[in-house]
């Protein structure tokens, strides 16, 4: 018997090309005829961590909803893992694109955390014997051992947020979409989410992270997209984007404080922006003997 490669749409199918291909995607909300996305094109290779920043109403959420098929483009096309989202129902796309909602309360339905983790795989028709293995992996990955038997509404909000992400993790999608993953989180959970995103990227998962949390985007993103007025106006590394005064000014985005500081130090003029304290310290030590290097 010869093994055949899974066809497009099969949960184990992996595309040869870019994981996400958006071509001239335009979306107009039916009510009020609001243009939420105006001819956007991007390619995202598999395994890339992409951050999306922009003001409220700039089209970030519309773009992410197009990626998992919750919205279908008015014109243009959106292809994820070889599947044109316009041709597939959201339920089928769910095996390939995991969408973590901003408010975990919107996506938790079960009576225990464990049941919550099983909910997605069951909907996808994952065999019963495989589900405990997926749950165990998620419990280890997210550190949920102590809350497994509890009701999702009886645990703290930060933990609930982690359960929300874990409930998508057990579905093993190729692409994770995280909508404001650190909103309302304490410093510790923000750190946990930061490390989780990095680990997802290391596993080869593609992550699209929408956030107003610039330090998070600076830390985890390999690539940063900036939306403004339904259009993509910047696409580069966080270092490049944060250094672009015109883009930052137009979108009223504020780079992380350490990045701003690095750009204002006169002796560093012309050097790339630093994204972390460590980077800046290393840089100063390297360029400034007076700093005691």
């Amino acid at each position: 018997m010869t093994a055949t490669a899974p066809v497009v749409g099969h949960p184990s199918h992996v595309t040869d090309g870019p994981m996400i291909v958006v071509r001239e995607a335009r979306y107009v909300y039916p009510r009020g005829r609001v243009v939420a996305l105006d001819g956007l094109s991007i390619d995202v290779p598999a395994g890339q961590i992409v951050g999306i920043a922009g003001q409220n109403g700039s089209g970030k959420t519309t773009l992410t909803k197009l990626l998992n098929g919750l919205l279908k483009p008015t014109s243009g096309s959106v292809t994820v893992n070889g599947m044109n989202t316009g041709d597939w129902p959201v339920q089928k796309m769910a095996a390939h694109v995991g969408y973590v909602f901003q408010n975990p309360n919107h996506q938790l339905f079960a009576t225990t955390v464990e049941e919550e983790l099983k909910f997605g795989p069951r909907n996808l028709g994952v065999p019963d014997e495989e589900i405990p293995e997926r749950v165990a992996e998620a419990v280890e990955f997210f550190g949920l051992q102590d809350v497994l038997a509890l009701h999702p509404y009886r645990i703290s909000f930060p933990l609930r947020k982690l359960v929300g992400i874990a409930s998508i993790f057990t579905m093993r999608p190729r692409v994770f979409i995280l909508d404001e993953p650190t909103t309302g989180q304490d410093h510790r959970t923000t750190g946990v989410i930061n490390r989780l995103i990095t680990r997802l990227g290391e596993r080869g998962d593609t992550v699209v992270c929408v956030s107003h949390d610039m330090p998070l985007l600076a830390d985890v993103s390999e690539r940063l997209l900036v939306m403004w007025n339904a259009q993509l106006i910047a696409d580069g590394t966080p270092r490049e984007v944060f250094s672009d005064r015109e883009v930052m000014g137009r979108t009223h985005l504020t780079p992380p404080q350490i990045t701003q500081l690095s750009l204002r130090i006169p002796s560093r003029a012309g050097r790339p922006a630093a994204l972390s304290v460590d980077e800046l310290v290393d840089d100063i030590r390297g360029v400034s003997p007076a700093a005691g290097a």
Partner: protein, 297 residues
């Protein structure tokens, strides 16, 4: 997925019905409610419902009204179906009108069912037309002006304002369910969404009550209102007309009723069958669809 938007919320507009004072509109709501309870004769009530729909048409809210009425239709139809086969107003001396298989439809039942249905329909149509053309804050001000207790008034206004909020929550929850591979379409999908929506609603109520207390809700003394409602000459004429219609209609209805002038409406057999079958389809059909969807989900 675009879902049908069904909600009894304010629809923006500048029609005559939108511009009419909420006090005048409330007068008509009370008048029609009093008349509906006092009258046994369904025809004037059906006529009121049709006039209410016509008012909705001229105010540009007929499609929205139609959608809400459609949602209530199974409940309205159930009154006729149940009364037709098991009349409450006669026990052993009911007159069979027609036999449909194992079901006997009684003349008194159809007559009583039509009466109940017309009452509900008249009140539904008028109330929906008023709610859809009156901003909740204006309704709040109007009720305050006729000295409705502040807390009661506030409860009503908050309920009306929470409807669109909860509706939006349901949409988000359904999106979240579909994003996790669940076939969340139809009635069956609504059940699992109740948990997050109601949990969110309770949380919101808790936060709202704390927020209200922190902003001096419940303090004594006169309250001021940001929105002022007008009550011009035309509003006064409409309100007086409403009072006259309400008082005369209620008096006439009660007098006829107490004088025993409430004859059973005898319809031709074919019309009886048509009305019963239509109501049964509306009532039983929705139940069957709900059960099948639940079984599949």
């Amino acid at each position: 997925m675009q879902t049908m938007n069904v909600s009894i919320t304010h629809v923006h507009g500048t029609s005559w019905l939108h511009r009419l004072s909420p006090l005048a509109k409330l007068t008509w709501v009370v008048a029609i409610m009093a008349f509906a309870f006092a009258s046994y004769n369904p025809w004037p009530l059906f006529a009121i419902a049709i006039l209410g729909l016509f008012a909705g048409l001229t105010a540009g809210i007929l499609p929205q009204m139609g959608r809400v009425l459609l949602v209530f239709a199974p409940v309205t139809a159930s009154m006729l179906v149940i009364q037709a086969i098991a009349p409450a107003i006669c026990s052993s001396d009911c007159t069979p009108a027609v036999q449909l298989g194992p079901l006997t439809i009684y003349q008194e039942g159809i007559s009583h069912g039509l009466s109940l249905m017309s009452r509900v329909l008249a009140m539904e149509v008028i109330a929906i037309a008023v709610l859809m053309t009156t901003h909740p804050s204006d309704l709040f001000s109007a009720l305050a002006r006729i000295h409705t207790p502040y807390v009661l008034n506030f409860m009503l206004a908050m309920t009306l304002q929470l409807i669109p909020v909860l509706q939006r929550e349901v949409q988000i929850v359904l999106s979240a369910q579909r994003s996790r591979g669940m076939k969340s379409t139809g009635f069956g999908s609504l059940l699992p969404s109740f948990v997050p929506v109601f949990a969110g609603a309770f949380e919101r109520v808790q936060q709202l009550s704390i927020s209200l207390e922190s902003r001096a809700f419940g303090s004594t003394g006169a309250k001021t209102s940001y929105r002022q409602i007008s009550f011009g000459p035309i509003d006064k004429i409409v309100a007086v007309a409403g009072i006259v219609v309400g008082v005369l209609g209620t008096a006439a209805g009660l007098l006829l009723w107490s004088a025993g002038q409430t004859p059973v409406i005898i319809l031709p057999v074919w019309l009886t069958v048509v009305i019963f079958v239509a109501a049964a389809i509306m009532f039983v059909g929705v139940i069957v669809i709900a059960v099948v969807t639940l079984a599949r989900s």
